[in-house]
């Protein structure tokens, strides 16, 4: 899986800034990653880490001003021709957006028009991208609703968004997004607002559709369970930067960045019988402090104020994103030491800042 296959999207050194009254918000500050054809790349990180701004930058939907793509390239393989999406004309971008890249959001209500029926909205997308008349487009709309698993699609086609449940609205969004047969689907927290039961339906649907259509998915989420379930590869973001990138199993089993380790340790796991029998002393391993404010990034490593492995050197320069082997990237000056622990030498405790200081 690693770095093989044909590249569909390559983001290189992307910087997206917002000029606000309080100063320059460096929402995305030099983000680099690649997404291969047919692959699902998950982007994880806590709120404010720059996930949405990254995806909106790829779609070129950043409001400008106050936003600005200050630097970097977004290389998109448009059926054999590589285009830099930061440079193509607005007309061309509109065509790419409609035909090659689609996006679904957390709250479908914001992207569905409340005054049109769902059928009209899908039909409009179909007429725009496929050479079909109104009657044919309606037929396609019903087909699409059926395709995404909406019961009684011939009735639902005439309903308005507010008449549908959250899960059904998300299915309608997916139907619209897929009506142009995109090469890339960007899904920004598509199941965050849904119940786990409905989330399971939507994730199942996305997996099936991906197998049928062969599209790539850029899946943005903060839920590590969803990442484990959906992703081939993972990008971990914090403070507008990529902290770690790699194959999903590597990220979960051999994380090379303290932020990734912290995230993994924060989530509760199923308890063993012994743990369950004596819960009094059980505590989660929380990351201390608060999520970093992109208006106020520390000078060195963005995670330094919360990192239990931090050394004085971490405060001096922004650590580079380094290849730790086989395309597993980490932005931490101490990744070799973590690798050594994972490969059987010593333990993490001896690497804690206080221990090192002694």
């Amino acid at each position: 899986m690693t770095q093989q296959g044909e590249v569909l999207l390559a983001v290189k050194g992307l910087k997206t800034y917002f000029h606000t009254d309080e100063g320059v918000v460096k929402s995305v500050d030099g983000v680099t990653f690649t997404l291969n054809k047919g692959e699902t790349l998950a982007v994880v990180g806590e709120s404010g880490s720059g996930k949405s701004v990254t995806s909106l930058s790829v779609m070129r939907l950043i409001p400008m001003p106050p936003g600005e793509i200050a630097d970097g390239e977004i290389l998109f393989n448009d059926r054999g021709t590589v285009k830099d999406l930061t440079k193509v004309s607005e007309t061309e971008m509109r065509s790419i957006r409609g035909n090659e890249i689609s996006m679904i959001f957390q709250e479908p209500m914001t992207s569905l028009n409340p005054v049109y029926t769902v059928g009209d909205q899908i039909a409009e997308a179909v007429m725009l991208h496929q050479n079909k008349n109104a009657k044919e487009a309606r037929e396609v709309a019903i087909e699409m609703l059926k395709f995404v698993g909406i019961p009684a699609p011939d009735k639902r086609v005439d309903e308005y968004p507010h008449q549908l449940s959250g899960g059904m609205r998300q299915r309608v969004m997916i139907a619209m997004a897929l009506s142009c047969n995109p090469a890339l689907l960007i899904a920004d927290e598509p199941t965050t607002a849904l119940d786990v039961t409905i989330q399971a339906q939507i994730l199942d649907l996305m997996r099936k559709l991906q197998q049928e259509i062969g599209m790539s998915i850029l899946f943005i989420t903060h839920n590590l369970g969803v990442v484990a379930e959906m992703a081939d590869r993972v990008v971990v973001m914090y403070g507008g930067r990529v902290m770690e990138e790699g194959d999903v199993i590597e990220i979960f089993k051999a994380p090379r960045h303290p932020y990734t380790m912290g995230l993994l340790n924060s989530i509760p796991r199923p308890l063993t019988a012994e743990q369950a029998a004596d819960k009094k002393n059980l505590r989660l391993e929380a990351i201390p402090g608060n999520v970093v404010n992109p208006l106020n990034l520390p000078p060195g490593c963005a995670f330094e104020p919360r990192c239990k492995f931090a050394l004085p050197a971490c405060r001096e320069v922004v650590p580079p994103l380094e290849d730790t082997g086989g395309g597993h990237m980490a932005r931490c000056i101490r990744w070799q030491e973590f690798e050594a622990v994972q490969e059987g030498g010593g333990d993490y405790n001896s690497l804690h800042s206080q221990e090192v200081a002694r």
């Binding site: 119940d195 039961t197 903060h222 484990a228 995230l263 199923p270």
Partner: protein, 420 residues
Amino acid sequence: MTRMDNDTPQGPQTDAATRTGATITEIIPGPAATLTVSDNVSASQTTAPAPVSADVTASAAGVQPSGAMQTVMIGTSVQTGEPVMAEVPAFTAAGERSEPLLSVRNLQKHFPIKGGFFGRTVGSVKAVDGVDFDLFRGEVVGLVGESGSGKTTVGRTLLRLVEPTGGDVIFKGQDVVKMNKRQLREVRRDMQIIFQDPFASLDPRMTVEEVIGEALDIHKLHQGAERKPRVAELLQRVGIRPEQMVRYPHEFSGGQRQRIGIARALAVSPDFIVADEPVSALDVSIQAQVVNLLQDLQQELGLTVLFIAHDLLVVEYICDRIIVMYLGKIMEIAPSHQLNNDPQHPYTEALLSAAPVPDPTIKRQRIILEGDIPSPINPPSGCVFRTRCRYAIPQCAEVVPALREVKPGQFKACIRDDIL
């Protein structure tokens, strides 16, 4: 049954023909099972007092097949309201416990729906529809279920922030439902609530000191010169620097706001707290901090907590027992580890199966519940879960399942004992 897979071992097949008078035989999807209902007492028959006797074969995964059976009430008939009896595998019941701190009996909340020209009541939303449970002193009990299942409404009716339509809430021996205003104010010193975003409902122009101080003023506690030190002490305890009490809610992050919400609830030293999704809106790293804080405080102060949430792993982590709700009713109650590892109700099984597991090496078949939770205005007859239950049989529409103990300390509202 373990939480990682869902191929239940096959239960012993019972030949329906070997049973006397058997007529209705249903082979249902999922684990093989045979439910036999005796002819002379069919589910639709109206002869009282014990109209139905169902022999249900014990599944291998269920209660150990000791062979002993007992006749119990498994529900009430939709048509007659009479009890429906069945013979089910016997087990030893859990030992008696001490007096509960809080006992909820047949709690109901039906929100009226207004319609027509004169705003007449044209129906009702059955948000909570006959709920029974006990909370024991010092216990942390989780309340889970899909959105709209009635969790918040239960939490609020306990404190009478929402007036119940019926039922009793016995707190320390007194019925909260029957209390007058003065008694209510008194009892609310002992019963507090924490919200998902404690500041959403508060005046943004109040400082943290005012927000917490207000809780003290209502009950005339720590007044005058004692007030500020008390606020400082509370903030300190939840991990906020006391000098920050002069700040406004919007100046704090989500996690800090939740800490302040906890301080506010603890200000009057309550015995019992309803925590309504206190960590659901927080980032995972911050969620872990707040979960740890809640655990520390609960143990230190011996609090009894009803913890409303939707993440079953978080709930297992901090709760002793878990209550699972669906469409205004309780589906299952069990000790948390037992519920997560050996669910007895099909809805619990499906909820557990739906939750994504943070381990990419585990690939599992999940149970996908079809469709959405039905409208609480017109809930399905009989078992409310039957429209999405993969084990549903015709009798499920005829019988409202009773919540009954099926293993020590584990209660379920499902008429079938031959499935999980």
